[in-house]
């Protein structure tokens, strides 16, 4: 995408949370403390701009665990580039959400 300097602080925060392994809407809400009315529209716009992409969990896994399937998000290559630029602009983001190797499912 290459629109690195354009992300707002909130959008950068959500992108950072997804990058850190908070890969569904509710976990992003829990991590960032933002309300659902902010997180879900922001994630939809990030996906529209090609910074993240979503994928539905396989039905078999969800059925085995007796719960509905979830929609998972992950950061794209363009999203990673944008996040790197955003971290230079908002350096505190790294401290607010440390990068984790594991996904917080």
């Amino acid at each position: 995408m290459g629109a690195e300097a354009k992300l707002s602080h909130t959008a950068a925060l959500i992108l950072r949370a997804i990058s850190a392994g908070y890969i569904y809407g509710f976990s992003v809400m829990e991590m960032t403390g933002l309300p659902s009315g902010t997180v879900y529209p922001a994630m939809r716009r990030l996906e529209r701009d090609g910074l993240i992409q979503s994928k539905w969990e396989a039905e078999t896994i969800a059925t085995a665990e007796q719960r509905p399937p979830r929609k998972y998000y992950k950061v794209t290559r363009a999203g990673k580039t944008t996040l790197e630029a955003s971290l230079k602009r908002y350096p505190l983001l790294e401290k607010m959400i440390p990068q984790s190797e594991e996904e917080h499912v």
Partner: protein
Amino acid sequence: MKRLLIYAHMLALHGASRIVPEEERREWLKEWKSELWHVASLHTGEKTTAFVAGAFRDAYVLRADLRVARVRRSHAFGSSPLLCLLFLLVAALTSIGIAFLLPGTRAALLPSPYRDARTLVVVSRDGTAHSLQPSVSLDEFRYWQRSAQHVFSDLAFYQIVRRQLHIGHGAAVELSIARATENLPDLLQTPSFTASTRSTNDMPRLILSESAWRSYFHADPHVVGRVVFVLGEKASIAGVVRSDAWRLPGKADAWLLESEAHIGMLPSQAMGFVVARMQPSLTHDPAEDRWHMTVPLAGGVDGFECVSVRHFARDPFVFFAFAALLALLALPATTSLPLGEYPYNPQQQSLSLRLRRWLFLTAKLVLIVPVACFASLDVAQLFSDVQSVQLMVTFVAMLAALRWVLRDQRRRCPVCLQLLRNPVHVGQPSRNFLAWNGTELICVVGHGFLHVPEMPTSWFSTQRWLYLDASWRVIFRPPEVARTT
């Protein structure tokens, strides 16, 4: 109680989903229901209610985003220069295709069916060559038959009359009949007329046009030889000719070929058309297709024009050129001609870019000509006075098309040729002498701004382009994204 709350939340989600456009509703609801299940399993009712309340905001935002995306997509689709040219090309091909389908226009596009059309002339009184009214009397025709053998190798006379044709069993139809001397088919030397007009008996022969044959004789394949009653006497149907085989003045549904004796019964002052074949000795110059003839009369001389049938075939295009010229002259009254001021900028206006801009303008101008020309010919066929309607339609169409070409060119970025967007009004009319007042448009890729003055002044008379340098790029989306959204 908890179950009741979950039902209430689900109901609220379904309510919110009605805000979301239908194409996205199912996916949206599925995600929110799934998330609600997880939230409700971990949190109390109050937190779950706050979560569900956010669904309404999400639904509104999604609805607004989709609407904006739809508008942007349609704008992006319409602002592409290639699409503009493609649209004009399709319009040109469509109007040409329709012209080939309509018999009246097809005749103008196809080569003449007559052998040596240049030496085949229509003789008419001076100044009436392009009139659809007959201008030569039968008396004058007879005089030329006797005394003008050194000018014409052969002559034929015809007049168009509207008469009833009795086709048998008491049925009659009214047709435009060209009442002609019987040598007319031999004079035209066209395969359509010659092959279909073999005489079977001494009766006058009637040749039907294909449309009349289909309409009134139900395309009867055994129509040749049938006897009909027309102009008070019997006539034998001698054949059917294609609609585009007749290229001479006057619209006819049928041709009645009569002997000299029959034609001689007409009053000597009966007016008609005279078609003749010029003597080869007078037609040496291949570029010449009009000749003037002076005929001595008792009180002086009378002038006649001999206009080649080849010349008549060019008439629709001559009328088009004339009307297009009038439209060109009228254009400055409807819009300003300058395309605006574009300051020289070697980085953004290289020679190839400037050339591309002018090529785009030229391509548009080239493509609107066949669109207007053939569309006006097509429309004119719907009316009886084809020439007048063609002139009027051509004038209006060319004026509108030229105006559009200029206005479209002025509203495009000189670098990428995309249509400029986001018009905003800048300044105040009351401060026109102190600061500029007008409309500002922007190139979405970030090549620059266009400033269009609301009121032309001596210091700001026409629109101006303002180039933006590379330092502005950060606020614009990259070109490939900006052009498609």
